[in-house]
Subunit: 560 residues, 2 copies
């Protein structure tokens, strides 16, 4: 398989009849999915999502790097959105800030979700709604949309025909053969495209390492039924706020067991409102109640559906676990955490589970019952896809490196030649020319951090500073120098925060600073910056040598 | 089951014939296991381990809270160590700092490991070596030691007889029926204690939520064999540095495949040296080589055994993944991560796996092969124990709240009355009087942080400061006030770190500070502390209101 090489340089000019594929996110990470197709001077963007930070202190979101597009915004024909998850649509508002009139193309539900999000950003987009079976010319890209099954309704794959070659892009998908809404991944169309010829197959790698087949969604119904049958008091269900089918299962169970349902949490209320309005969520008559009116009901009549299944500290579920929410969890309450556990969230989630259990609740979760299934096709299903599509070239997308490699291995196992499998990272350029894909270069593609209201202002240096502050705190030393004499007029005044040490310890360093400054003065050093360096060296040597600590040291010399 | 209540107060005086049990760690957390038995004015400590921090920035270790013992150090008869893992022995050096002559009692390997650790702390302890079958009077505690099987050799349970009642304490254990070293958990002795009468059974809860039975250790041999049979170049094995049996399996495979083995990493070299010296690790003749002499061997002759299986950034494996180690990982190398994935370490571990795979290595890990089994008994095995021991009272130990509850449920399922199951947290007092256990109170029991060379100096306030610094950075404002006039002599001088904002933005706040200080002066305010509050309010209002950020704000007023 074609590995990217560190020595890759800028790509050559794209041959007249070539299609260029550059992912600005989603390769080497789970999130910020965004793939740019380039043909005949025109660009088509597929998905534009966010990545949630791991070890990026203070960072709220990570965006794809739009730099590659900055000079070519006018070439963008449209953004095709395969489905409504944050990691596929979340960065759209930031791209539209650069050019608000780029059309958005997607299914009804996908567009409704992105429009609701854009409304919060005060943007009204140009949109074009499509459904499975539609075929639309978009600039030079002839796009045909195909139903795929995923953990959100109305997901689409897209088959893109260009004179330079054909591409089938799955987006996220799985192959549940008996989905709750009956909408299966359309393998007959995959087969038809295969017959026509798929030059490059870009396919979801998320579960490529998982052997076998993804469990059908309806297999979790018995666990939900057991929860409702056995619940003595309230039932509290936590799940992703976009998982319409999961919520449907809970509504159906609530109806059978004569319970009313209240939605809790802004995104849950908003998304399920949209899904119900559009007919994706079938709400039994009279079952919904306002969360504020639960006092009128007995505990055994109540179901709450809320967010917080990943242990997010500000979500309702975490606050219930801490006793910091109007819903006072106690013995007899049952909490159903009907979601996956995203790697990295384990400690937070277990903290919530322990907190709920300490209050006496019965907690049913992935660890002790079948209450969640994945939204992605496993290795067994991907093999079916490769055998049905028989693509000429393959480019695994959506995943960490280990996922991309595993997906590439599956392609090779079905007969795709190793050299036709493109293992690329964000920014790596794949050119499809005369039916042959190859890696031809790399474009700059960094991480763009959203930090409060700031986009792109936070950089690696700042994150490094934050990590030092987090682990070691800081020491600041203020000295006022008499501008007339050059002698110390006040200070050294030492302040620390987050630095675990008796401040009296600095009594020893103060004379050292005074000596060092006096020596510098005697040598004629009077530049503020240089004097600060003198202080930094003196304090750094003391703290590092005597105390064996590495806090951030901030010397401040002021002339007065 | 008896839940602790928040309204618990200090416990009453212990009745003359009662045994008091207080865990100072290990209940409600996985780590810092330490249980104190109190009978007739004498104390017996069982285990004294450390907890590894989760969201405790800058903290290296968390210790049990020794405050409960501080006035009663002379009453401590001994510390019984059930086995040599860090979460059972790691805090011994800190307890011995308070009183170095407390005897340590444990098996040969356990004592060798704690002695090596104490040597680094420059402490030579009093020790008494015991083995399974030994019965020793220790103060008023008549202790009988029993073999148990765990993920480190030579682990012991202890049966404690006192006139006030009998206690069986398992320590960590599992029930592998065909262990590699043939040393099984001695259920015949458990049965004998049951016949005699076990008043309180304190048993390992770690895997109580896991249904069924823990897979035998030898079931991972085929996966190891496959790795060695298929490896083209080097084999690099990462595992815990105390897992003697896992290392034994690797040594045996290396011998069969004619490879030499080098140990990498200080703790691995030290522990395996001890295990080999004492005969727990059987090292085939001539198989070990110095890691520095690998250059003399061809790649396909080499096995490295190293630490870093949890993604620890400074360990050899992480550095290999980053290309920052003398071992230059490349295509054909095989890395075997033969260990569990401790919750919270997922991101770090996957980062290492992705890094190794990007270099072309084949990585075999828990996610794609059976290369690790747990060291703890699962629910099925715990049921056997309850049915064999038939204890009067039960106290689940070693685990988060969810584990303790699950273990208590198992006891109840075998017929232990709910009111005889003691669900306690750290510091909760359990009294065993006339064969009946009950929760009678609570003693203070906090977290004690080791932070660099400091023990107990870091507190929650400091951790809160560090979290603010981590997420938001800080802003410091220095103003020099002329002590004669009360007017500003220099400044305001504003410095920030970790705060993502253009510093020019502060040009707007400087006049506000000057105005506020001038107004304060006009009102006769000249106290430095009060002036600092004026600055804090002014800057905090600006930053919070206009920029919507919450950095740490540090105003510094200096008179000159």
């Amino acid at each position: 398989m074609s590995h990217p090489h560190p020595e890759l340089g800028a790509p050559p000019a794209l041959p007249k009849n070539g299609v260029r594929i550059v992912a600005l996110g989603g390769l080497g990470e789970v999130g910020r999915n965004m793939t740019v197709l380039d043909y005949d001077g025109k660009l088509l963007v597929v998905d534009c999502g966010v990545l949630f930070p791991e070890d990026h202190p203070g960072v709220d979101l990570i965006l794809p790097d739009f730099d590659y597009l900055r000079d070519r915004l006018d070439d963008i024909q449209a953004i095709v959105l395969t489905h409504g998850h944050e990691d596929h649509i979340g960065a759209v508002p930031y791209l539209l800030r650069l050019k608000p009139d780029i059309p958005l193309i997607g299914s009804t539900l996908t567009l409704a979700l992105i429009e609701a999000k854009l409304k919060e950003h005060k943007i009204t987009p140009f949109t074009m709604s499509v459904k499975e079976g539609d075929r639309e010319p978009i600039g030079g890209f002839d796009c045909e949309f195909v139903a795929v099954n995923h953990s959100i309704p109305d997901a689409l794959a897209v088959f893109v025909r260009t004179p330079g070659g054909t591409l089938l892009i799955t987006g996220d998908f799985k192959m549940d053969q008996l989905p709750l809404d009956g909408r299966i991944t359309d393998l007959r169309s995959f087969a038809r495209f295969g017959e026509e010829g798929v030059d490059l197959f870009l396919t979801d790698s998320t579960n490529a390492e998982v052997p076998g087949f993804t469990t059908p969604e309806r297999n979790i119904t018995p666990a939900i039924e057991r929860v409702f049958a056995g619940a003595e008091r309230r039932v509290i269900v936590a799940c992703f706020s976009s998982h319409v089918h999961r919520v449907q299962q809970v509504l159906d169970a609530a109806r059978v067991h004569n319970r009313k349902v209240a939605m809790v949490g802004r995104s849950m209320v908003r998304n399920m409102g949209i899904a119900a309005d559009l007919g994706y969520l079938k709400v039994p008559d009279g079952i919904l109640v306002d969360a504020k009116k639960l006092g009128d009901l007995r505990d055994e009549q109540i179901v709450l559906i809320c967010t917080g299944s990943q242990g997010e500290p500000m979500a309702a579920l975490s606050r219930m676990a801490n006793g910091d929410h109007q819903i006072d969890i106690g013995p007899g309450d049952t909490v159903l955490m009907a979601s996956s556990l995203i790697p990295g969230n384990e400690n937070a989630v277990y903290r919530v589970i322990n907190g709920l259990m300490r209050r006496g609740a019965n907690v049913v979760h992935k660890g002790n019952a079948l209450v969640h299934v994945s939204g992605h096709a496993s290795a067994g299903e991907l093999l079916y896809c490769y055998n049905i599509v028989r693509p000429k070239n393959v480019m695994p997308i959506h995943g960490e490196w280990r996922h991309l490699v595993a997906n590439g291995d599956l392609a090779v196992a079905t007969g795709v030649p190793e050299r036709n499998v493109m293992l690329a990272e964000d920014g790596v350029v794949v050119d499809l020319v005369d039916g042959q894909a190859s890696i031809t270069g790399v474009v700059p593609c960094g991480y763009v951090y959203v930090d409060g209201s700031l986009v792109g202002a936070t950089d690696e240096t700042m994150l490094k500073d934050r990590r030092i502050l987090r682990d070691e705190g800081f020491v600041t030393i203020i000295v006022v120098i008499d501008s007339a004499t050059g002698r110390i007029a006040a200070g050294p005044d030492i302040r620390t925060r987050g630095f675990a040490e008796d401040e009296a310890v600095f009594d020893k360093v103060v004379p050292k600073i005074e000596d060092a400054l006096e020596q510098a003065r005697a040598k004629g050093v009077n530049d503020t910056h240089q004097l600060q360096q003198v202080i930094r060296r003196t304090v750094g040597g003391f703290v590092g040598g005597k105390l064996r600590r590495r806090p951030m040291i901030i010397p401040i010399v002021i002339e007065a």
